[in-house]
Amino acid sequence: MLSRESSTTLMSAVTAFLYREARLQDEHQYEAWEKLWTDDGVYWVPANGADIDPERQMSIIYDNRSRIALRVRQLMTGKHFTQTPQSNLRRLISNIELMDEQPDNGDIAVASNSLIFESSLRDDTLWAARNEYRLRHVDGELRIAHKKVILVNNDKAIYTLSFLV
């Protein structure tokens, strides 16, 4: 458990970090977003619930660090047609919590909720998710070591999800 004082300081740093991530995602600043990740980062958007085994079952996204880089490089080509033109996005991040159970390796377990409004060529789409992070201090900066995005409707048929969620 963190002391109350250190947890307040950490909470404000984490909150600022998550808001920054959200803004970079909304504004399609792909390279800046990629720099938020640790070298061993894992980006996971499960399908069919929150607790599937991603090594055995299909996920919507289950990217290791090199696949995160590939995802960003594809977006950067300008020919990833599903994001050409780019979706207009704004998301609200809320319910940010430092979790009671913290990892032993010094990573910081954080969770938040997100509500994302996407306007694309197809239509307007509302997305909602629980986001679970493991953040890590690297050279004095917070970085994402693990991000799990549990879409509320991940058991249903969903439209193309080609922006950074």
Binding site: N48, I52, M58, T77, I158, S162
Partner: protein, 419 residues
């Protein structure tokens, strides 16, 4: 038939080298398709490996209808309609499970997992009623081919084997990729919804003309060898098997490479366990041939698409509302291969897939595009002059030619025209 002209409406809408845009957007045509295609011909529903044990069930679909695929206590696979025979309530609300019976929550009618009505609440009100008359509805005919379970609502008509025709051989080829000769569907499905007519999906599956353009963003950054397969100089083929089944046959290119597992961008050295099991199962020569040829790229009309490493099931929900259910193919006795198949599939397909996000964007743009009324037609004439018959008599063309679309529409017209 139009009494004035003697020309059927389908003949006007479907020409040898073009089809009318309204075929994708007219709600009345969609309703006619449900009746004449989805609720009549053989439609792929599920795979036997999804219900491995007695009393297992999984909820599937035929078009908008919910279908419960069960394995009953005798081991038989049933396709039951998810509709209480009393007042129509859905009797099953979970996607999968293990249950001997389904109890309707409305008035507690209970059905065995082979569809029989086994009991209703307060039975004294049903004096003299024959329970056998009140079973769950079922898909009229159920047949399976190498574990792939199909259903047809028509009491009569071609057998599944007759329907599959020449395309059955592609499924034979597929299962040989397993050292035990069996596909397993065990990795769960991604469900990708598109606001587009189902036939844009159907026709794109064996369209070898688009990858070089639609997928240029990922081919450019991923060192993919796929791009070359669909280039102007490719020796790969498009094939029309008849009955609406179409294929992109990539074997000519893989045979030129002459390297086992090159079809999957890997090698025997990287899959030592799989290679050893294949050689033990088939012998060195046949195993080598199978591992060079790879798995098929085949669209079984109207809804089962086997795309080398994954399987898609197309579900139409409305004239402009469709779902692609997709999962990694898994081969019995091939754990090291299966792991890679899952990884590759997750990267490529589904709502956030490197490939399918762009394909689906095209489906949706096409659907909006054809709402424009001029030109009225979709032109499908590519390669019409250079198509030929292969040694088995099936029409083949260059990998980028529109042989598959023409084959699909020829069959579609037969199904839609009144007998």
């Amino acid at each position: 038939m139009n009494m004035m002209t003697g020309v059927s409406p389908w003949e006007r809408l479907i020409r040898p080298d073009r089809v009318h845009g309204s075929l994708y957007t007219d709600p009345e045509i969609f309703e006619a398709e449900l009746k004449n295609i989805w609720y009549r011909t053989w439609v792929y529903v599920g795979h036997e490996s999804e219900v491995p044990n007695a009393n297992d069930y999984v909820v599937k679909s035929i078009g908008p209808q919910s279908v419960i695929m069960t394995r009953d206590e005798q081991g038989k696979v049933n396709l039951l309609l998810n509709r209480c025979s009393h007042r129509g309530n859905q009797v099953c609300s979970f996607e999968r499970g293990n249950a001997r019976s389904f109890t309707c929550p409305f008035h507690s009618w209970t059905f065995a997992n082979d569809g029989r009505l086994v009991g209703y609440a307060f039975p004294d009100g049903y004096e003299g009623q024959d329970k056998a008359q009140l079973a769950l509805g079922r898909v009229t005919r159920v047949e399976s081919y190498r574990g792939f379970v199909f259903g047809s609502f028509a009491a009569d008509g071609p057998t599944l084997k007759e329907h599959l025709g020449g395309a059955a051989e592609t499924i034979d080829r597929l299962v040989r990729t397993s050292p035990e000769g069996e596909v397993e569907i065990t990795a769960g499905f991604l469900k990708h919804r598109v606001k587009a007519n189902w036939k844009f999906i159907l026709e794109n599956e064996c369209d070898g003309y688009h990858p070089a353009f639609v997928h240029t963003s990922i081919f450019g950054v991923a060192d993919s060898m796929i791009g070359k397969l669909y280039g102007g100089a490719s020796t790969a083929l498009t094939r029309d098997y008849g009955n609406g089944h179409t294929e992109i046959d990539l074997r000519p290119e893989f045979r030129k490479r002459d390297a086992p597992m090159s079809w999957f961008g890997t090698s025997e050295e990287r899959l030592p366990d799989y290679t050893a099991r294949m050689k033990a199962a088939y012998g060195d020569t046949a195993a080598r041939e199978i591992m060079i040829d790879g798995t098929p790229h085949v669209m079984i009309f109207p809804n089962l698409f086997i795309a080398e490493i994954q399987m898609f099931v197309i579900q139409p929900l409305g004239v402009d509302d469709s779902v692609q259910h997709v999962t990694a193919l898994q081969f019995k006795g091939a754990p090291d291969l299966n792991r890679r198949l899952r990884q590759q599939t997750m990267g490529s397909v589904g709502p956030a897939g490197f490939l399918l996000a762009d394909d689906s964007e095209m489906y949706e743009r096409c659907h909006r595009g054809v709402l424009a009324r001029n030109p009225e037609w979709i032109f499908l004439g590519r390669g019409e002059k250079r198509q030929r018959q292969d040694e088995l008599g099936f029409t083949v063309g260059h990998v980028t030619d529109e042989v598959p679309s023409r084959g699909i529409w020829t069959h579609y017209r037969k199904l839609m025209e009144p007998a």
